[in-house]
Amino acid sequence: VRVIDVGIDLSIRDQPPDHEATLTTLFREHYLGLVRMALLIVGDQPTAEDVVQDAFAALHRRLDRLSDRDNTLPYIRAAVVNGCRTVLRRRKRPFHGQEPEAVWSAESAVFLGEDRREVLLALRTLPHRQREALVLRYYLDLSEAEIAEAMGVTRGTVKSTTSRALAALAKKLGEESR
């Protein structure tokens, strides 16, 4: 199955077809998970989908240059993390306009419950890198090595970022006094 429509690019055509099959499989198996991961970082589904779709577009363009085509999942995970960073950075600029309604908004408390919302709100106040580390660790259950690859940092940094993030989160949630 080919992945992309179009006036077919000859450079793509010349590839053995299984590369695009790889991409299609990646999409089928991980698209939902990646969108969910992006949602947890950026807060809303439309933006999360944009980020993940961009990542797939970039991966598709690069398919012929990827040295290890079996290793597309870590690659796209890193691309999504990076895309989320771009979005969050852009939101800090002035005149950006209103943010889309986030999963931690008051409305979503109806679905998620106050406790969940409280955690998400606390997560939101953490520095971006800390938020990423926690999502990768506690949502995707990735190993330190995998988190390091996705975030583009060393394993040591992952370890320290995660423990600092968790401590900050616990503090915000007031668990120290419990």
Binding site: V6, F27, T47, A58, L112
Partner: protein, 297 residues
């Protein structure tokens, strides 16, 4: 600390589940929301546009930044229509019409790419195709008749990146002229005739699901969205048919394919005959080469 970890795990899992599979946009490989370098950009536009089409419910908020955020449902219930009628392909009139379906090859040296797509003869010495196929091309565009037939050198005389339509002037072209038919409606049987990656012309059965208004970015993702009338089609053309005519069983043209769905092997999108008519008319008399701008992103 473990209390925090547990609460975090549950909150993340529950929040993640708010993204339900059926609400995902059916297409991937959407466009970037920022300008990209034009080198080696595979013509993703088609998929991109379709990603945004999503049946026209996509409304642009935050247009200044050229970003899209759907309001309302992002995945409208697919209009259920019967599967395509295979016998449509064998209709004598359809077969005759496919002789007016040409293979288009454009070279865009600045982007290091050569693009192959489909076009169809709609007037004397005039061929219509997608703008994204000829985007950024330099020099003549090559047009060839089916089954290894004659090749011609063509000039882009109309370039409409907003609609994703281009018209080529092909002096001396001898091929049947297809007629635009604005009467395409839901459930109508049709045939998509075009050139996938193999060189031979392929005709696939199709069925119109719905006529829709789609709002989304143009092929350059200009900040102002474009509003187009499209057909969503039930058809299995996962390998792409940009520029292919959607033929009615009598050989007339309901529209021109410009995108296929990615996550779904059974959906293609076409501009309606009504949508492409203004360009078709303008292209009839146009005879000067026009710039094809940059490659599309």
């Amino acid at each position: 600390m473990s209390g925090t970890e547990d609460r975090l795990r549950s909150a993340l899992a529950d929040a993640a589940r708010t993204v339900r599979p059926e609400t995902l946009r059916p297409l991937t490989v959407a466009a970037p929301d920022r300008p990209r370098s034009t080198r080696w950009i595979v013509p993703l536009v088609a998929a991109v546009s379709a990603g945004v089409l999503v049946a026209g419910v996509a409304t642009l908020r935050d247009q200044g930044a050229g970003r899209r955020h759907e309001t309302g449902p992002v995945y409208p219930p697919a209009t259920s229509v019967p599967p395509p009628d295979v016998s449509a392909v064998t209709s004598a009139r359809v077969r005759a019409a496919t002789r007016g379906v040409l293979r288009i090859t454009a070279t865009a040296p600045a982007c290091g790419r050569k693009t192959v797509g489909t076009g169809f003869v709609y007037a004397s010495e005039r061929v219509m195709t997608n703008a994204h196929i000829v985007a950024g091309s330099r020099g003549p565009v090559e047009v060839s008749l089916p089954s290894g037939g004659r090749r011609y050198q063509a000039t882009v005389v109309l370039y409409d990146p907003r609609r994703d339509v281009a018209v080529l002037a092909v002096p001396g072209l001898r091929a049947p002229v297809l007629t635009l038919n604005p009467a395409g409606a839901s459930r109508a049987a049709a045939v998509i005739a075009g050139y996938p990656s193999s060189s031979a012309l392929v005709a696939n059965p199709a069925r119109i699901r719905a006529r829709q208004i789609a709002v989304g970015p143009d092929i350059y993702r200009s900040p102002s969205p474009v509003r187009r009338e499209i057909f969503s089609l039930r058809a299995n053309v996962p390998d792409g048919r940009s520029g292919a005519p959607v033929l009615a069983t009598d050989g007339t043209v309901y529209g021109m394919v410009f995108a296929t769905a990615l996550a779904d092997d059974e959906t293609a999108y076409a501009l309606t005959a009504k949508e492409i008519t203004p360009d078709a008319q303008a292209g009839r008399t146009a005879d000067q080469a026009v710039p094809t701008q940059g490659c599309s992103s």
